[in-house]
Symmetry: none
Amino acid sequence: MLFSLVSQTERIYSMLKEERQKYILDQVHLHHRVLLNDLSDSLNVSIDTVRRDVKELDAEKKLKKVHGGATSFGFMTFTKDDGNIYLKSKKISIAEKTVSLLSDGQVILMSGGTTNMEVAKLIPKKLVLTVFTPSLHVAMALLDHENVEVIFLGGKLLHDAKFAVGGTVVNALSQLRVDLCILGTGYLDAKFGLTEFDWEVIQVKQAMIRAAKKTIILTVSDKLHSVQKYKTCDMSAVHTLVTELDPSDPLLDSFRPFELVLV
Amino acid sequence: MLFSLVSQTERIYSMLKEERQKYILDQVHLHHRVLLNDLSDSLNVSIDTVRRDVKELDAEKKLKKVHGGATSFGFMTFTKDDGNIYLKSKKISIAEKTVSLLSDGQVILMSGGTTNMEVAKLIPKKLVLTVFTPSLHVAMALLDHENVEVIFLGGKLLHDAKFAVGGTVVNALSQLRVDLCILGTGYLDAKFGLTEFDWEVIQVKQAMIRAAKKTIILTVSDKLHSVQKYKTCDMSAVHTLVTELDPSDPLLDSFRPFELVLV
DNA sequence: CATTTTTTTGCAAGTATTTTCTAATTTCTA
DNA sequence: TAGAAATTAGAAAATACTTGCAAAAAAATG
């Protein structure tokens, strides 16, 4: 069983080389890996062309070429991504919607990722919150807010994601019962649920979901309908889905059968 | 007899070789031991392929191949660092002396403060360490080092110092027994010992000292012979004192009666 | 514009890598 | 020590990569 990871957006018009390479980079950063065949399909060019593009990008150290495809260097959620203004504005839009869901006195859990970073930055200065997080960056951003009590969920830190994982975190989470859990990254599909590519992160996220009364998923529409290696949870565990799209957007149709709030 | 541990995750799409190998490494690190058959099952590839992958990873020293499967193994590395001489600030001078006290494979505790930050930055890239810290900044700096395993001691974060304090930290520390504790800030006096002005920080530092076989104090000479409100420990609890001064400097005379190493 | 130059693209034949399979060992374990 | 399980090796099949080359597309030129 083979599933294409590349989003279904069809490219009709012919693309310039530069455009194409940017698309390839976007896909790599978004999905952390791409197959040359998928790229060839969605770009409507021969596999040779894609191969040449990837080879060039590899030479420029913008991605890592591997047999059959390409992968990104680590999962640099905090550096590479910010070059993409398009994605960033989507994320800010998501963050704004998310912040509007928060209210004074709540105790919440926040995972890492760029989207959650935007949420952390956008939290109103006067909002009183208690936030637990295993993400160094999110913790750092939250400490700017006088009225937010920040509790770091300690544990072994992942070098690239700057995120705590492991038994300590999961254990600490097992003793918590919070109002809200905000999961910032991940891939969402109606059938397969929430999936990720990092196994250790999955463990933490599962523990986060268990520790919260409600779970909010934040995701840019590009990551909808795509599936990764490991499964975090079913759609049924999700209470609210926040995307940059209008809640009535047809792209969200496949999620409507579930009992969840679309924002 | 070993049980099959791998299975919960459904294979959804075709994997690139590199991805597969990362998966194998994940599993090995998680379960400490994996069976080739289990891997073959969960990866949906022939046992030959898994065997070849494991063989390659073994050649790269990323895991140890054993009959029927693979196991993870502890660290094995070597180090050689060089020293350059140029104009340096007091803190950098202290940091350099401190780094020279470290050796491969040690498990250490580091507090916060700017001096400790310099230590974190100066740690040689090849040095293999496990570092526990309650300081966001130190953790961040340490994460630049591939060979340093960073474990954050989570807890309530102080907004200004970006330092975790409280019962969680003290509790976690009470279950540790490490080689070395490096305390980066504080005021030192022969008669009154190590003193601080933040009560919550004191609690954490005391727990750190208790958790370590040896305690190293780093302090610039300006902070010698001064006393603060709260006491962390007596001079007798200190094993090594690092300042920017020459060990024979008269300013250090009052500390000589104690059984401690001056660096 | 028309023409030349340069770049880009797709094709094809040959090469290399990866994966699977079979069968003959070797190693483990009861 | 016999039988089961794991390993090795060799070959075939599938997939991916390289290279050279010619056609097509862009860009530059007069």
